[in-house]
């Protein structure tokens, strides 16, 4: 499996570290305990497209959001996690 880092180009998966589901967002500090339990423990386990966080650890050290098909490992998109987070913030504000 190879991942196209938006900064470095196509690199072997040995340069990357997997972190986990990129679709969960941290609840507000005053949210109910059940919301935090969901955030920390509950994950979907899709057979198909999965948005996940990877770090280009042995490269530029950027965090990336990779959309990967869990059945074939085919990668649909790779985005800089920073851009995804900024888009999410501006969406929440508008």
């Amino acid at each position: 499996m190879r991942i196209a880092c938006p900064h470095c180009g196509l690199r072997g998966v040995d340069e990357f570290a997997y972190f986990g589901d990129a679709s969960v967002t941290r609840p507000a500090a005053d949210a109910a305990e059940t919301a935090f339990a969901d955030y920390v423990y509950l994950r979907d386990n899709p057979a198909g497209a999965h948005r996940e966080l990877w770090s280009h650890a042995l490269g530029c050290q950027s965090w990336l959001v990779v959309t990967r098909d869990t059945r074939s490992h085919a990668i649909e998109t790779v985005e800089a996690a920073r851009d995804v987070a900024l888009a999410r913030t501006s969406e929440a504000q508008s």
Partner: protein
């Protein structure tokens, strides 16, 4: 009274000082003349840093994996908003409007050159260094036999320079000597 600081090679005490080949295909050396600093732009102040680097050194800060040199100074891209600044003289990078940390004693820089340099590096490094993919002025952050490296090409000899964390320098040196053995390596400290 503070003790005077003395520059000491990370390699000298740990590796054989000289391996010569009659007709070397690859030449390995340590760059001991470089001042190094890591430079990271402050959030939202990338343009201010680019202006400062342009006016101080006449260098256009690279935003892709490349190295831009002018005179004794060079800036090598080191990830988004990050660079490795190098100088062959005593240049003080700490006045730049950025997070600057001296790395002169934190990294070692090895130089690998000669017509079989690429072939030697290919035994340790997975990225494509063929001229169609990587040429003079290009830089990359990757690993060589699992050691984090920052490498760039300075000329078409070809000459590659590899910055490595100081404590890994001897291991990388031994890997390179081993890889170069069948290719006629001349390695000298």
């Amino acid at each position: 009274m503070p003790e005077p600081l003395l520059a000491r090679s990370a390699l000298r005490a740990h590796v054989a000082p000289e391996i010569a080949a009659p007709a070397p295909g690859v030449v390995l050396r340590e760059r001991t003349d470089l001042t190094l600093a890591s430079v990271a732009a402050f959030k939202g102040r990338e343009a201010e840093l680019a202006d400062a680097v342009r006016s101080a050194y006449g260098i256009e800060l690279p935003t892709t994996p490349t190295r831009v040199a002018a005179g004794e100074v060079a800036f090598v891209w080191a990830g988004p908003g990050k660079w490795l600044a190098t100088a062959t003289g005593p240049v003080d990078f700490s006045t730049l409007p950025a997070a600057v940390a001296d790395q002169s004693d934190g990294r070692s820089v090895l130089s690998v050159s000669g017509e079989r340099a690429r072939e030697t590096l290919a035994t340790l490094i997975a990225i494509d260094l063929h001229p169609r993919a990587f040429t003079s002025g290009d830089a990359a952050l990757t690993h060589a036999a699992s050691i984090s490296v920052h490498l760039w090409q300075t000329d078409d000899a070809p000459t590659y320079e590899i910055a490595v964390f100081r404590s890994y320098a001897a291991t990388l040196w031994r890997w390179l000597v081993h890889a170069g053995q069948s290719r006629g390596i001349d390695a000298k400290l």
